[in-house]
């Protein structure tokens, strides 16, 4: 069948069932939006994990006495620098640490007033190569550092990274569950729309079958309809996602948006789900069409649509 004519027939079908088509496309878009939102959260956690790993610094707190001996301090720094995975070593005297804390706290210095004397011990801040930021490497480094004389305590922030990793795993699991639920929901939405379109066109389909139209000629307008519905839903979801992102951005300074390949993937997913729903609907219906007496479809449609 001529492609232009098929498209014309598709729009004729959609027009006949337009309320349901529009409504179900919106619902489909909202379903995909939910999936996108979870995906965006996951991507942001992934980004956080990545940047935390990249910025990984281990704090080795040192005995105050050692700071009085530049030679001992230099030796200690050299020994730390020689440990595998250590990229840079920087001594941080307690005054500088207090200054940093004051900067972090901003105008509210009540805490510092309560504390009185500077409680922060001097430290050596150790920058780790990204390849050595795994929990195993950090543990090894911690153990090595604690064996060095003059080091009283080590803080690596690995608990924070571990928590982030846990959150990431949870987010991925939620994403997968959401993906399954949304795939089923979208398939069902498209299935329902196409099923009603088929019933709306049942008389035409009967005639097409009787005059010798091929299955492809009969089915193609429905597949175009399903694909259009998937496309419309996914584009709508992309637009809504962008609006939500703009709103979130006013509260959180640097959220990351879903990258273009993901958005393109979502559009492809929408189209595939549209085609899938159509396939299921067509596989279920047409074999019964011809065997039904004339007028059956109208009655069936009426009873079905209430």
């Amino acid at each position: 069948m001529n492609l232009l004519y098929l498209i014309k027939e598709t729009f004729r079908t959609i027009n006949r069932n337009r309320e349901q088509f529009v409504l179900s496309s919106v619902v489909l878009g909202i379903c995909l939006l939910l999936l996108s939102l979870f995906l965006m959260v996951t991507l942001n956690i992934m980004n956080l994990v990545k940047s935390s790993s990249e910025l990984a610094e281990v704090y080795a707190f040192v005995d105050e006495e050692i700071t009085n001996s530049p030679l001992l301090l230099e030796t200690l720094e050299q020994r730390i620098a020689s440990i595998a995975g250590v990229v840079a070593v920087r001594f941080f005297p307690k005054e500088q640490a207090l200054e940093e804390l004051r900067r972090d706290l901003g105008p509210d210095t009540t805490v510092l007033t309560v504390l009185g004397e500077n409680p922060i011990p001097p430290s050596i801040r150790i920058k780790i190569h990204p390849d050595y930021t795994t929990p195993e490497h950090i543990n090894t480094l911690e153990q090595k550092l604690l064996l060095l004389p003059g080091i009283t305590e080590v803080w690596s922030g690995k608990e924070f990274v571990a928590q982030l990793n846990q959150a990431l795993k949870t987010a991925v699991v939620i994403d997968i569950i959401f993906l399954i639920i949304i795939v089923i929901s979208v398939l069902f939405i498209v299935f329902q729309t196409v099923e009603n379109s088929v019933l709306n066109r049942s008389e035409e389909i009967q005639i097409m079958e009787l005059v010798g139209a091929s299955r492809i000629a009969i089915h193609t307008p429905f597949f175009i309809q399903g694909a259009l519905q998937g496309l419309l839903g996914s584009v709508l979801s992309g637009v809504l996602l962008f609006l939500v992102y703009r709103i979130i951005k006013t509260f959180i300074p640097f959220p990351i948006f879903i990258p273009a390949p993901f958005l393109a993937g979502e559009i492809v997913l929408g189209i595939i789900l549209g085609l899938g729903g159509t396939f299921i609907a067509l596989a279920r219906i047409p074999s019964t069409l011809l065997t039904m007496p004339a007028g059956f479809h109208r009655k069936f449609r009426t009873s079905k649509l209430g």
């Binding site: 069948m1 005639i207 009787l210 010798g212 139209a213």
Partner: protein, 237 residues
């Protein structure tokens, strides 16, 4: 056998059987016999009436011919296709060679006469540049050109049936299968429809027409097969 074997295409000899039914049985709901031991041969160029009261099996027999149903036993061959063994994908090929007409017209109400015919030609992949001329030619033949932009609800019963015939005819079928085509129209219109079908037959197309109007069939003096309770009780003419 039909007397009308004029104007047959040279490629198909007049004696060629185009429909053969041998020992055909069809049951509904398991054991209710709709057709019993039907043996029938239709030749190219025949004009055949299927007569019988309501429930005699006329429509069932026609439905078997265009492969809308399958028999429970027996053999059916139409235009060289063995309907029992043919593949699903061959069914459209068979039906493209058949023109099917119903008592209730079955026109698409939201489409004009032209669009109803175009719909058929598009469905069977007719070349776009041929569509308009084929429709024009068919409507001319049936004297319906002036109604080409009318919707079915704007036409009388007789005119609607003419459009239904045009729809069957527009794809140049080898066989016209008409199920009670005069059942829903007045006697004058019925006479017109019958004359159109005779004209189509004169031009070489085989016509099978189911009707319960024995008088109409007798007047036409063509082959008449009478069914009663699913059995062929008479084959005359």
């Amino acid at each position: 056998m039909s007397a009308e074997t004029n104007n047959t295409p040279p490629t198909v000899p007049p004696v060629t059987p185009i429909i053969e039914l041998n020992g055909v049985f069809k049951y509904y709901q398991g054991d209710w016999p709709a057709l019993t031991d039907i043996n029938l041969t239709v030749y190219h160029g025949d004009f055949l009436f299927l007569l019988g009261a309501t429930g005699a099996g006329k429509t069932t027999l026609l439905r078997l011919l265009y492969r809308q149903e399958l028999p429970d036993a027996g053999e059916i061959k139409v235009l060289g296709y063995d309907l029992l063994t043919m593949k699903e994908k061959e069914i459209p090929m068979l039906r493209r060679k058949l023109g099917i007409i119903f008592q209730d017209f079955r026109l698409l109400p939201e489409r004009t006469v032209y669009e109803n015919l175009e719909f058929v030609l598009r469905a069977i992949n007719t070349q776009s540049d041929m569509i308009s001329s084929k429709i024009q030619e068919t409507l001319n033949q049936l004297g319906m050109t002036h109604k080409k932009n009318s919707y079915p609800y704007e036409l009388s019963g007789g005119e609607q049936q003419k459009v239904a015939i045009a729809r069957a005819l527009v794809k140049s079928p080898d066989i016209i299968i008409a199920d009670e085509p005069t059942g829903n129209i007045d006697p004058k219109a019925a006479e017109d429809i019958l004359n159109i079908l005779k004209d189509i037959n004169y031009q070489g197309t085989t016509v099978i027409m189911a009707t319960h109007d024995a008088e109409l069939a007798e007047r036409t003096r063509r082959r008449r097969i009478t069914l009663d309770a699913g059995r062929v009780v008479r084959d005359e003419g």
